[in-house]
């Protein structure tokens, strides 16, 4: 893992590329859906103990980025390590909060049972959820201000409350590194406040949070590190150095429309002989 500088990454010198202790190290990551690349050559290194926002326009591949790191989406190329090892070896250190829309909230379970799912791995095969596990799940619900809703059917919760249940499920796991996919999307004010308080608490406890975020205005107040993404990595680093107009223009401006048009054409066109689909 030689330290090769990359034009797009402005990470802190204390966490250079190839740093084996970094919470997340990504090298040359490319992901494609139906032959159309969604992420190209991502090189990234994230520091420990920070609140990190991943921002970019719609379709920039923010969720795909997280999913490919977690192995939910196959990688066309590239390598990812978490604290220096593969995700498979480190998944006990990682908590994942998927997008709220990714599941059917009409499922016949209550809030506590969903949170307890974060403990299933610890409980292990075939053994039922015990009293102690329920207690841990309840404490996690309490941390997001939802202890009163433990018995509530998930279909009867508001969108924000459902989001908090998902957060509690990741908290119950007691991870070191959290990936959250749009936790602020479409939530009420109370939930937004609860999430911010939670993020601060996690940071104080030395945890690292990688949060897909869509509201540019709140990035400087909520986060201290930012990753700007639009199919390619535009910039990554501390908010005060990276989150500037020039980089935002690069991320949201029209510069990449030609690229994405070309990729569309490529995806529609006939297959090259060497293409693996």
């Amino acid at each position: 893992m030689a330290a090769t500088p990359h034009h797009a990454t402005e990470t802190k010198s204390t966490a250079g590329i190839g740093d084996s202790s970094a919470p997340l190290w990504v090298n040359d990551l490319t992901v494609a859906y139906h032959r159309k690349p969604v992420l190209w050559d991502i090189e990234l290194n994230l520091p420990e103990g920070r609140l990190i926002a991943v921002v970019g326009p719609n379709g920039a591949g923010k969720s795909t980025f997280i999913k490919s790191v977690l192995g939910l989406v196959p990688r066309a190329s590239g390598a990812v390590t978490i604290y220096g090892k593969s995700y498979k070896a480190q998944r006990h250190l990682v908590g994942y909060v998927p997008q709220r829309e990714s599941v059917d909230w009409d499922f016949p379970v209550n809030a506590l049972e969903v949170v307890a799912m974060g403990l299933y791995r610890k409980i292990g095969w075939l053994r039922p959820v015990g009293k102690r596990d329920r207690q841990i799940a309840l404490e996690a619900l309490d941390k997001v201000g939802m202890a009163n809703f433990a018995d509530r059917q998930i279909s009867q919760l508001s969108g924000g409350q459902q989001q908090r249940v998902f957060l509690a499920r990741a908290l119950a796991q007691d991870a070191r590194l959290y990936f959250m996919d749009e936790p602020f999307a479409g939530v009420d004010v109370a939930t937004e406040r609860a999430i911010i308080a939670l993020l601060k608490e996690l940071k104080a406890a030395g945890k690292t949070c990688v949060v897909v975020h869509h509201d540019l205005q709140t990035v400087p107040t909520y986060f201290d590190h930012v990753v700007l993404l639009n199919m390619r990595l535009v910039a990554a680093g501390p908010v005060e150095t990276v989150f500037n107009e020039e980089n935002l223009k690069k991320t949201y401006g029209g510069r990449l429309t030609l690229l994405s048009q070309a990729l569309d054409e490529y995806a529609k066109g006939p297959r090259f002989p060497t293409d693996k689909g």
Binding site: H34, K67, L70, G71, L72, K88, R91, V94, Y96, P98, S102, V103, D104, F107, P108, V109, N110, E113, V114, M117, G118, Y120, R121, I123, W125, L126, R127, P128, V129, N148, D151, R152, Q153, S155, Q156, R169
Partner: protein
């Protein structure tokens, strides 16, 4: 939801008993018209079938009951995993397997009808059918429904063609092969029933052992994946159990109808509960009862095919659940809606009376008459009169002099509560949501009736500095005669 659970169970058990009586009654009715035997003969026949006196009937009824149990249990996960149609496809895909197995066995041994071989052929082809669906999904951009439809019809067509070839073979005795399509319980042997019993045991044990894992995969497979659960393997295990139940059930219910036994009991159970565990066993019970009564009725009447009767019994359970289900049945929903409507009317009247007392020019000596209240909001005279009657029955109000309405002490107490909630909400809308004071009465009116007690506490805490005393003042002018615009 918690406080509702005991009544839910009670209601469920009452309705179950009612359903049993209905099924028994309808059976008696069908039999009464279909047969010319006297009532005595019929009741002895009924007794003979349902007390298992006849050996053949005993085998068939026990076999189909256990089949229903197994299908109901594993069907719960199938439905929750949203794979109901996949099971339909794979059951149709078994047909070429059966026909091929028959042809091969005839050519090699001379006797085509060997159940283990036929079942093995069915199982192999149901897996091939499933893999075909996965392949189409993966290598084309066709949507799921198209992929399922293609595989279902192609394999079924292939099966019918092979069946045609099989029946034309000289050796092998293909008669009765078609019972795999439509089902025929009468031919069930003790060994078949034993096979079904073992399958049911496997399905039940697996549903209990893997309850946690299956429910995780059904609810959020991606999350399960990130946690390191072998989701593919668990999915495979679930589908393998579905295949097992399908091929074992082929002979009894037939491949067209076996899917109903997997889906309908689970779908019915969903109307009774919000809990997965309850849904699971309820679905098993529904499946078992469908098998029990279906095969029983079919044993009573030789010309009614068991598969059809079993499925019809299951759908009877479904219709009853759809209408009377205690968790989300139609009756339950409309009762809830009616109760809410009554609550709103009661609260509106209480608040109107309270505000009248507050604003009436001649002190609170005389309350309003019904006709004066009518102009305050858009309610019909009959609805208002019914509400007045209801509140009188609850001792909330009484008639004062000259037909005027007055709140009792109890009524005043509840009215204050209602008014407090209304004004808290109004104040909140004005101060926090920028709603114009003139509009706030109506906006608050829509929401205040469904406010959670917890939310009201929060409201109160938020507005503590604005409202002060126990009963906040109305944030807008009150007019006794006009009421809500």
């Amino acid at each position: 939801m918690n406080n509702r659970r005991p009544t839910t169970l009670k209601m469920a058990s009452i309705l179950l008993v009612a359903m049993l009586l209905m099924v028994a009654g309808s059976m008696a009715a069908i039999a009464g018209t279909g047969h010319t035997e006297s009532a005595d003969d019929f009741s002895t026949e009924l007794l003979r079938v349902f007390t298992f006196q006849d050996y053949n009937t005993r085998v068939v009824v026990v076999g189909t009951t256990l089949l229903g149990l197994a299908a109901g249990l594993i069907g719960t996960f199938l439905v929750l995993r949203k794979r109901a149609l996949l099971s339909d496809t794979l059951s149709h895909a078994t047909l070429p397997g059966i026909a091929l197995a028959f042809i091969v066995m005839t050519l090699t041994t001379g006797d085509g009808k060997q159940l283990p071989a036929l079942i093995a052929g069915a199982a192999v082809f149901s897996v091939i059918g499933t893999l075909s669906v996965l392949a189409i999904q993966r290598f084309s951009r066709l949507k799921d429904d198209a992929a399922l439809g293609i595989v279902l019809s192609v394999y079924f067509g292939l099966g019918i063609a092979l069946m045609g070839m099989a029946t034309r073979m000289d050796a092998g005795n293909a008669a009765g092969l078609s019972s795999f399509i439509y089902g025929k319980t009468a031919s069930m042997l003790f060994s078949d029933a034993l096979l079904i019993a073992v399958t049911a045991l496997v399905a039940a044990v697996a549903s209990i052992l893997f309850f946690k894992e299956f429910s995780l995969v059904c609810f959020d497979a991606d999350y399960g994946n990130t946690q390191g659960w072998p989701v593919g393997l668990l999915d495979f295990l679930m589908m393998a159990l579905v295949v097992l139940v399908t091929v074992i059930g082929l002979q009894a219910v037939g491949l067209i109808l076996v899917v109903a036994l997997l889906i309908i009991p689970a779908a019915s159970a969903r109307f009774w509960t919000f809990r997965l565990r309850t849904m699971l066993w309820l679905s098993g019970v529904f499946g078992a009862l469908s098998g029990f009564f279906g095969s029983g009725v079919s044993a009573l009447m030789a010309n009614l095919p068991a598969g059809a009767v079993i499925v019809l019994t299951a759908s009877l359970f479904f219709i009853v659940s759809l209408v009377f289900g205690s968790a989300r049945g139609l009756v339950r929903i409309s009762i809830d809606r009616m109760q809410l409507r009554r609550k709103i009317m009661n609260e509106n009247l209480l608040r109107d009376l309270h505000e009248w007392m507050e604003t009436a020019s001649d002190g609170n000596a005389v309350g309003p008459e019904i006709r004066q209240l009518l102009s305050r909001r858009a309610w019909s005279p009959s609805a208002l009169r019914r509400t007045v009657k209801r509140l009188r029955r609850q001792q909330m109000l009484h008639h004062g002099p000259s037909m005027s309405l007055r709140l009792t002490d109890v009524g005043t107490q509840s009215a204050r509560e209602v008014v407090r909630r209304h004004r808290l909400w109004e104040t909140y809308l004005i101060t926090h949501a920028d709603v114009a004071p003139g509009m706030v009465d109506l906006s608050a009116d829509r929401i205040e009736h469904v406010l959670d007690p917890l939310l009201i506490d929060q409201l109160e805490a938020t507005l503590a500095d604005q409202t002060g005393g126990e009963l906040p003042r109305s944030p807008h002018e009150l007019v006794a005669e006009k009421g809500v615009p």
